[in-house]
Amino acid sequence: MIEIRNLTKRYGSFLAVDDITFEVEKGKILGFLGPNGAGKTTTMRIVTGFMPPTKGTAIVSGFDVVENPLDVKRRIGYMPETPPLYVDMTVEEYLNFAARLKQIPAKEVKGAMELACAKVDLNNVLGKVIKALSKGYKQRVGLAQAIIHDPEVLILDEPTIGLDPIQIREVRELIRSLAGEHTIILSTHILPEVDMICDEVVIIQNGKIIAKDTPDGLSKSMKGAERLTVVVEGPTEEVSSVASATEGVNSILESTAENGHCSLVLECDFKFHVRKSLSNVFSKKGWSLLEMKVKESTLEDVFIHMMSSSEEEEA
């Protein structure tokens, strides 16, 4: 459905995307993972026909974006990093414009708008001026614009960036629900996001692909990458021993105790059932679990891990 072939992009002498090649099958969600400045946006802008590549090309539903940009654009829905909104328009006016811009026949515009609004749940703000909407709603309007012509392919550039946790969850669910009908490329710099919604992952850094895998395969190769912080109300010694005995926990990196709480930093397998089994064993013991969170530094860990393992391979 989407083929990216030897794609290269230079900004002046700066090489932003360096000869990347990958494919996405119909109906799949591909996570395009990488730190800021890795070249994700650049790649997506080329695939959507916003800018031409320096070398290589992208092929969408059999159409080459360099040779037949209009055919590609007709088949793609794109949500840039900042939703491209005309903030003085109402949601309804904007979507009407987007529908016509994407050449939906006049008779079908209304139906297409209704369908898109139902999918992203916008019906209660249709008459509102876009600039008055919350960030989460703006994001949804951006998504509605991308899906309004029912494109075969969706390209979403960091769709959850800048949202609050509830909005993030909603948007992720929304994207999940769009898979199947649409083939999706989604960029992110958040590792768990890939695990939650993607079927495949491509990891890019400094414009180069450093890994292509499924989230499961990735997590297998990433043992020890995830760090969990847990705060439990219970005796430190016992809590530590119970935690380290739990399947998936590799080691305890830190443990501190203060007024009856003990706080641990665990290194675990990159899998979510670790958290579930931890909370189960703690509650069986009658200890309250006060806090559990994934340490934010995981992505760097992944990259350090990836980089070092790719160096090992080369050596």
Partner: protein, 260 residues
């Protein structure tokens, strides 16, 4: 064509959903109104003088030429005032889309750059036409005081519209090069001012260069229209200027994709 209409509709409505259209039209009518008032009052004084003198000589008052005395200078003034308001009309054209990122929506939709440029130009030009045609009340007022020839008025309007097409084209082109509305407006003003003053430079240079400067002058070409002389050469100048600048706008949007 449908794509051009889609772009045009959004663009044209956006003028009226922000204060821009009202401010531009208001300012234009006030400025032209002031000049009209000044012209009218000096004309009335002049003709009253004539009548008074005629009465003293016990002779019928000689006819006064309102076309010559009011209409021609009025349209010259209008043409100059457009140089000031056109930058306000076109300043957002592409600049706003570049700044807010909506250009990314336009350029990744199945429309061509030429269609986008055409839609934006037509929207700005339509606002200009509405604004310019609202001045019809001035010639109408004159009908009560004199007997103007209609033809020269109509020809003057053709000149005003031609000049507008050229200056709006320039504005759209400049706005395609910057994401800053202020720079867009200032840049357009500077280019228009140059094309206006270049006729004046022409008076100081001789030969081919002088002739060339003369030819470039956007206001120089208007003189004949204001006199009621229709010359397709002048119209061609305006239309070519419009065509060239829209082509340049197209190239600047395209090259932006290649460069950035």
């Amino acid at each position: 064509m449908k794509n051009v209409i889609t772009i045009f509709n959004r663009e044209f409505r956006s003028y009226f959903s922000s204060p821009i259209a009202y401010v531009v039209i208001g300012l234009f009518l006030v400025l032209t109104g002031v000049f009209f008032y000044l012209l009218m009052s000096s004309f009335l004084q002049y003709s009253a003088n004539l009548q008074w003198q005629a009465a003293r000589m016990r002779q019928p008052a000689p006819p006064v030429n309102v076309n010559h005395m009011i209409i021609r200078p009025l349209f010259s003034n209008i043409s100059v005032i457009t140089l000031f308001v056109v930058p306000m009309i076109t300043m957002r054209s592409f600049s706003d889309d570049k700044k807010t990122g909506t250009l990314e929506l336009l350029l990744t939709s199945p429309v061509t750059t030429a269609q986008i440029v055409a839609g934006k130009f037509l929207a700005a030009f339509s606002l200009y036409v509405i604004m310019a045609l609202l001045t019809w009340v001035y010639p109408l007022v004159i009908v009560f005081f004199g007997d103007p020839d209609v033809m020269p008025v109509a020809i003057s309007y053709i000149g005003i519209l031609g000049m507008g097409a050229a200056s709006v084209g320039i504005g759209v082109w400049i706005s395609s090069m910057t994401e800053n509305q202020i720079i867009s407006a200032m840049g357009t003003f500077v280019v228009l001012l140059f094309l206006w003053l270049v006729g004046w430079f022409a008076n100081f240079s001789s030969g081919a260069i002088g002739g060339f400067f003369q030819y470039l002058s956007i206001v120089e070409h208007f003189d004949d229209f204001a006199k009621g002389i229709f010359d397709t050469g002048h119209l061609m100048y305006y239309l070519s200027l419009c065509g060239i600048t829209l082509f340049l706008a197209h190239q600047s949007i395209e090259s932006l994709r290649w460069r950035s």
